[in-house]
Amino acid sequence: MNESILVVDDDYEIRETLSAVLLSESYIVETAKNGKEALKASETAYFDVALIDMELPDINGIEILRRLKEKQPRMVMIIITGFASLENAVKAVNEGAHGYVLKPFNVAELLKMLRKRLDEKAAEYFQFRTEIEKNTVFSEQFKKPKGSIFTH
């Protein structure tokens, strides 16, 4: 299944360009022009990744990050910011962002980062599933009646 990406940026051209680039890489893309739209979108659909501009007109980028994280904790969040806002990028990473890209972004690097983060997330999930399954097997064995062990 193709991964879905939410692009949050107030600049129409950036939304359009990023959509085109991501669609060309076979991602499913949805866009939001502000924080409010982004939060609304996260209520109706699940996203693997959110690309969030730090300087949105309505809600601060870090605040959106927090709220999206509450709604969809497994979502990979990547911040898009200007060089002058490096301080904010550091803050965003501290708040749980999985990375950041500087505007104007190098598309190849952005796609590389996206893939890397998604693969890491998938690996984490796979590990999590394996552990859960192991525990389930163990607990099911543990639940077997003791008598059955001693019958042999």
Binding site: V21, G82, A84, L86, P104, V107
Partner: protein, 430 residues
């Protein structure tokens, strides 16, 4: 015998009487001299002086007061102070209150008031009133007045000018930031479309060459924008005590890919007086190593006390180093490699801090940048401190300076070892 004795007594008495007379004359002369000097001082004083008797009648004024008010001596002397024309009616109750205080034996504090010059203009004044005493008795009241109109006006002008300047700076900042922000957005759209365009073209297509040139120009524009953004911030931010180990960690965390390099951070315990641009200093040094170091496997940052009033912060890598011929131009704007802004900015930041930076490495043995930090800055504030046990001195330092240590990062917790290391696969890699 008796005659001789009487004569001696008469002579002594006569002598005593003469001495007394001479002393009296001398005292009178001294008194007159003092009085003349006093009057002379008062007359030449640039401060306006009014003398009054205990009833509040003006007995004398000096030239400065006449000049300051525009009135003649005849119009002031002999009048009760409440009848003086240069006082405003609404201030009289205040003056009467002060007069009452003086009669009650108290000395009022310096006060400010406005008066009307003979030409009708309103002047600001600062005055001090005190009791005059002679022979232990109350002899009168003296008021000393300084016309502060010019000073006040200058202060007001200065305030207005500063406010205007502040507004202009703010406008300029907003305009430049907005412009940069918008240019970045448009450049992002360009680079995105370049990527899409390239994807549509077959390898070796002639158009790819032109597209690459457009891409290269875009990169140059970005560098110029970045330089402008940082340059605008130089010396603006208030310096605070920054933990160098953490600042370096933060700079490292800004690189998505360290290309397999190991960063050895031996700056634990070093706190320096700097702003957030210190992070950028490390950022540019690391950026230069990545871009031009060639096969660098390790960067080491450490500090050493040069002598009692200097500290050296050393950044070195094990790359190809800087050729001797390029060292003198290394920190110049437009240095042959890259955009020519990175190390130039580093030098400019150092200038603002009052630190110095030199490239002290040997060619082919790696680059080595030595930052020398003097113990105190130009304002006498301590530039660096070496903290001993974990955070025990931090509180003391904060109290001493009344500041917060800059800890902008929580994710990058301080290492428990003497040096913390990062690699491309470590916590700082993206």
């Amino acid at each position: 015998m008796y005659y001789a004795f009487t004569r001696i007594i008469l002579l002594v008495t006569e002598l005593e009487s003469k001495v007394r007379h001479d002393l009296h004359l001398e005292s009178l002369r001294l008194l007159k001299d003092n009085e003349r000097e006093y009057k002379f001082t008062i007359e030449l004083s640039p401060v306006g002086i009014v003398n009054m008797n205990m009833k509040g009648i003006v007995t004398s004024v000096n030239a400065a007061l006449l000049e300051g008010t525009g009135y003649t001596e005849h119009e002031i002397v002999g009048k009760h102070f409440t009848k003086l024309k240069f006082f405003r009616a609404q201030d009289i109750p205040k003056f009467l209150k002060l007069y009452g205080l003086i009669l009650g034996g108290r000395t009022p504090k310096k006060f400010q008031y406005a008066f009307i010059h003979r030409d009708g203009t309103l002047h600001q004044c600062e005055a001090f009133v005190s009791l005059l005493e002679a022979g232990g008795k109350r002899a009168g009241i003296q008021a000393m007045c300084i016309d502060t109109t010019v000073i006040r006006q200058a202060e007001q002008n200065m305030r207005e000018m500063l406010a205007k300047q502040k507004l202009l700076n703010e406008k300029l900042n907003v305009i430049s930031q907005l412009t940069r922000h918008n240019i970045r957005n448009k450049l992002s759209a360009i680079t995105g479309n370049i990527y899409l365009g390239k994807k549509q073209l077959a390898a070796g297509h002639k158009a790819l060459e032109y597209i690459d040139k457009i891409e290269s120009s875009c990169s140059q524009i970005v560098r110029i924008l970045n330089f402008a953004g940082v340059y605008e911030m130089l010396g603006v931010e208030e310096a605070a005590h920054a933990d160098v180990e953490r600042t370096l960690e933060e700079a490292v965390s800004l690189f998505p890919d360290l290309k397999g390099m190991r960063i050895v951070n031996r700056c634990k315990g070093l706190v320096v007086l700097a702003d957030s641009l210190l992070r950028l200093v490390f950022y540019h040094l690391i950026d230069n190593t990545i871009k031009y170091g060639r096969n660098v496997s390790q960067i080491v940052v450490y500090y050493e006390e040069a002598d009692a009033d200097k500290l050296r912060l050393v950044y070195k890598d094990n790359g190809c180093g800087i050729p001797p011929g390029e060292k003198s131009e290394l920190f110049s704007k437009g240095y042959v490699k890259g955009s020519g802004f990175g190390l130039y900015l580093v030098k400019e930041i150092m200038k603002v801090y009052g630190w110095t930076i030199k490239e002290t490495g040997k060619s082919r043995q790696g680059a080595r940048f030595t930052i020398t930090i003097p113990k105190a800055n130009r304002k006498g504030r301590i530039n660096y401190r070496l903290l001993g046990s974990e955070n025990t001195e931090l509180g003391v330092l904060q109290e001493l300076e009344g500041q917060q240590l800059t800890h902008p990062t929580r994710r990058l917790s301080p290492s428990s070892n003497a040096s913390s290391q990062h690699s491309a696969k470590g916590k700082c890699s993206d």
